[in-house]
């Protein structure tokens, strides 16, 4: 009887806990409209929201500070949509519209954002919010890529590539003064830069019929030109790790004559305390002789997530945030380029930013990136290979071919079944290679190291317990967290690894570990080695200790010195343990995620993108759960197969005998 009572009450308790958690509202819900944006420097958004709250006290808006990287913030939005708790106000980049709308995550805004209203905004910016005939996004700020130049160093700015090259030849002298800095890291910004060269040479990614025409002579010209910038030393190699803020930092420290960046930089460069105040000019980005200058359209806008309880309230905020008043706040406090045409002629603005007259021209000619629901995937491909070209890992010809094939494969593969896709999936092949390289370097090394350490620990000496404890530590610490530490240690110039190697004399110059493909792979292998060797040590040590002392004595009487003792006795008897450790390690190495995701995100140039990172991106970034599951299952079978193989190969006759 008592038993029954206890069981029932336990069950009820469990049920009540579960349901209360399930049913309890999330503490952040209820009437709060959230949006994610970058760090609110200058407090622009805080001001906008404050004024909005004054006018609409019944609506709460919350600005969440997210990472600087737009890709990261996009991931955050995507995850929130997938999770069923969407972030209400979608502060989106121009390139997100197609994907989000296609996935049905956005509410069409047609009923509020009328054609008359649209007229007041920059056409390109409005277009970027349209998908399949409906409008999903109201532009908050416009953006266009352009060329900044040092008025004091270059009296008349270049318009063509040739003019540009001449200036570089003449006036730049690295490493003190580079010619140009831009965004060369593997991320969305790189695509913006690349497209400016591509379009400026008359090339295209996808033509009007939807065919991939990237692999063309114009494309080759563009890539070659970009590569030349680095090869000739006109752009520093560090550009490979630059996003907007890094290029701005370098330019404002006077390290380069030119900079490619967005309009926001102007305001910062002309602040009171800026050393370059008054010395900077802007022009449309350079183009190849005979073609037109094109800037990539950027900018941000607000949309409403589907599933919001009260879209009317959300619209109120959007209306305010895109009003003349709000845009002025954003401009003055943050250097944001307005999206309303009229503001380019507004006297208040022109007073502080007289260059806006010129900017209007540039901005009206801005071009949007290919609007395609698979844009993230396309962008990924472009990012990968353009950065590979910049890093010198791939030749421009190779890169073009690969990019075109990969994008084709993506577009075509979507329509086929999974099996077909497997063979079309060019990215998969690449990641398989990376995974293989990583595993085949990392596992043998850590076994070698682990064996040596285990042999050492098997002997008796003072302080052995402390060594054993130390050996456990790397394995116990969280991988993802330590990866941040490794990033810091491999940093250039603040990294301790460069410093130590320089001091010992093993290096002559500091290396940009994480910016070069082989350096990044090395760093990943090294960090992984550090973490997992302890595990191997423990298992092998256990094995060593099961070898009876008598056997060792017997074989030494039989005439074996330490080396032969190892080969004839220790190693064969250690095999069962080697087997266990090997299976664990191979599976772990093949499935590595945490370390690489945090350390390199798979870069540079996708050189460290391993299988599991790819599968993760397929599932959560490209939103193709089905294909991801398919790949996972295949991977699982492969692992099982490899495990069996290892077991076969490492089982000696005597274990099978009975």
């Amino acid at each position: 009887m008592r038993k029954v009572l206890v069981n029932v009450s336990l069950a009820l308790l469990l049920l009540s806990i579960t349901s209360s958690i399930l049913l309890s509202p999330s503490p952040i819900k209820a009437e709060v409209l959230r949006m994610i944006g970058p760090e609110d420097v200058g407090g622009a958004w805080a001001e906008v929201i404050k004024r909005f709250h004054e006018r609409h006290p019944d609506i709460q808006v919350k600005y969440i500070s997210g990472p600087w990287s737009t890709d990261e913030r996009q991931n955050m939005y995507i995850r929130s949509f997938l999770s069923g708790d969407p972030i209400e106000l979608v502060y989106m980049d121009v390139t997100w519209t197609a994907k989000f709308a296609d996935a049905g995550w956005l509410l069409p805004l047609d009923r509020w954002f009328t054609p008359e209203m649209q007229e007041e905004f920059l056409p390109g910016a409005v277009e970027a919010g349209r998908y399949k005939g409906h409008i999903y996004r109201v532009p908050v700020r416009g953006d266009v890529g352009m060329l900044y130049y040092r008025k004091d160093l270059v009296p008349s700015p270049p318009r063509t590539w040739r003019e540009f090259e001449e200036i570089c030849e003449r006036s730049s002298h690295p490493p003190d003064l580079y010619c140009i800095v831009f965004q060369g890291m593997q991320y969305e910004g790189l695509v913006c830069d690349f497209l400016e060269y591509l379009w400026g040479a008359g090339g295209e990614v996808i033509d009007t019929e939807g065919k991939v025409v990237l692999d063309s002579p114009q494309g080759l010209e563009a890539l070659k030109f970009m590569r030349k910038l680095i090869e000739r030393g006109w752009a520093p190699k560090a550009v490979l790790s630059f996003q907007e803020q890094h290029s701005l930092s370098a330019f404002s420290q006077g390290k380069a004559i030119f900079m490619r960046n967005w309009p926001y930089a102007w305001t910062i460069l002309n602040r009171e305390d800026s050393p370059l105040r008054g010395k900077v000019g802007i022009v449309p980005f350079i183009h190849k002789e005979g073609y037109e200058s094109v800037g990539t359209l950027g900018g941000w806008g607000l949309g409403i997530a589907r599933g919001v309880k009260d879209p009317e309230k959300a619209w109120r905020f959007i209306e305010f945030a895109t009003s003349v008043e709000a845009q002025k706040i954003l401009h003055f406090r943050r250097g944001a380029v307005p999206s309303r045409k009229a503001l380019f002629l507004d006297p208040e603005i022109l007073e502080v930013s007289p260059h806006y007259k010129d900017l209007y021209d540039i901005v009206m000619r801005a071009r949007a990136r290919p609007p395609h629901p698979d844009y993230p995937r396309i962008s990924d491909t472009l990012q990968k290979h353009v950065s590979a070209v910049l890093a010198g890992v791939e030749s421009p010809q190779q890169a073009l071919k690969v990019m075109a094939r990969s994008i084709e494969g993506t577009l075509k593969g979507k329509k086929k079944n999974y099996l077909k896709r497997l063979s079309l999936d060019y990215d998969l092949k690449r990641t398989l290679k990376n995974t293989l390289v990583f595993t085949s370097i990392s596992v043998p090394l850590e076994f070698l190291l682990g064996l040596l350490i285990a042999l050492l620990l098997n002997a008796q000496f003072r302080g052995r317990w402390f060594v054993r404890l130390s050996v456990l530590i790397p394995w116990a610490l969280p991988t993802a967290v330590m990866a941040m530490s490794w990033q810091w240690m491999f940093n250039n110039p603040f990294g301790v690894i460069n410093d130590l190697l320089l001091r010992i004399g093993l290096l002559e110059r500091p290396l940009d570990w994480l910016s070069s493909p082989s350096g990044a792979m090395f760093a990943a292998v090294f960090a992984d080695l550090w973490k997992t060797t302890p595990f191997v040590v423990i298992i092998l040590l256990a094995g060593l200790q099961t070898i009876p002392q008598e056997l060792k004595e017997s074989i030494s009487i039989d005439g074996a010195g330490p080396l032969r003792r190892f080969f004839h006795l220790t190693f064969p008897l250690l095999l069962p343990f080697v087997r266990v450790a090997l299976i664990f390690r191979v599976i772990h190495a093949a499935g590595i995620f945490d370390l690489i995701w945090v350390l390199t995100k798979g870069g540079p140039a996708d050189s460290t993108r391993t299988l599991c990172i790819y599968i993760y991106e397929v599932a959560f970034r490209y939103d193709e759960l089905g294909y991801a599951i398919f790949l996972t299952v295949l991977f699982l079978f492969a692992l099982i197969g490899v495990s069996f193989l290892i077991m076969r190969l490492t089982t000696l006759g005597y274990e099978r005998a009975r």
Binding site: R464, V467, S470, P478, I629
Partner: protein, 273 residues
């Protein structure tokens, strides 16, 4: 002579293992200016807790810590509770079948989380537990169950069945036997399993990243990896290192206290495997 060589090698190994952690701590206790000073200083000119203060102030880091604690503790308790029940039942099965089941469990324990993240995500989403600590707790329980059952079964099977019979004669029902006889006797194994599972949950990254997209629900590893540019110019390495220090010190403490049993536990597993 040989002893000296061993000792020296031992020191090398200790340095190799502990250096990254030590460097992190050193960076964390430097005042923010010194973090970026060149040439690199190995010993800070002065000590400061500014980085730690910033970390808690600028980001909801304390929230992350609480989230991690909730999830790790909940995961550990749930896992051990279920594992005890299963291991207890396994005790009564004929040894052969139990061993076979064990082997399958081992397979389950080996599968890396990266493979399971998608099915787990789909399942948790279906339950509507995204962004809910319970979702993460359930997932961790699922992932650690094979390991927990394995460890506890090894410990339970060493307890002679006669004790059960004596307890039954004394009038205890199965739950009582479990609670009053078996678990107390298996204290050591419970402690080690608890420690290892806790460490696993504390350290886990991928599933936490996937199941808790809401920033306020981040666990510590996810939170740290998202610490990016506070200003346009720099990544706050001082803060990051401080955060890493805070995260890793508890783990080190646990490992230091329980090192002998942890090694024994893993060793025993290896011998069986």
């Amino acid at each position: 002579m040989r002893k000296a060589a061993f000792f020296f090698l031992g020191i090398l190994i200790v340095l190799y293992c502990l250096f990254p952690f030590l460097w992190t701590v050193i960076t964390a206790i430097k005042p923010p200016e010194e973090v970026f000073s060149l040439p690199i200083r190995y010993l800070p000119k002065r000590l400061s807790v500014e980085n730690f203060v910033e970390v808690f102030y600028k980001r909801p880091f304390s929230r992350y810590v609480i989230n991690s604690l909730v999830v790790a503790t909940g995961g550990t308790i749930l896992t051990l509770a279920l594992a005890s029940l299963v291991a207890f039942k396994l005790r009564y099965m004929p040894v052969q079948r139990a061993l076979m089941l064990q082997r399958w469990l081992l397979v389950g324990a080996i599968v890396p989380p990266t493979l399971l993240v998608i099915p787990v995500f789909v399942a948790i989403k279906a339950l509507g537990l995204i962004n809910n600590p319970l979702g993460l707790i359930l997932s961790y329980c699922f992932l650690n169950l094979p390991f927990g059952i394995w460890m506890l079964y090894a410990a339970f099977s060493r307890i002679p069945k006669e004790l059960d019979e004596a307890a039954m004669i004394d009038g205890l029902w199965w739950g009582g036997i479990l609670l009053r006889v078996i678990l107390p006797l298996a204290r050591a194994a419970l402690a080690v399993s608890a420690a290892l599972i806790f460490i696993f949950c504390w350290n886990e990254f991928l599933i936490a990243l996937t199941l808790m997209p809401d920033q306020l629900r981040y666990t510590v590893p996810v939170g740290i990896s998202m610490l990016s540019g506070a200003s346009i110019y720099e990544i706050p390495w001082g803060q990051i290192n401080a955060a890493v220090t805070i995260t890793t010190v508890p783990v080190i403490l646990i490992v230091a206290l329980l090192q002998r049993w942890i090694v024994e536990g893993l060793t025993a597993g290896a011998v069986k495997g």
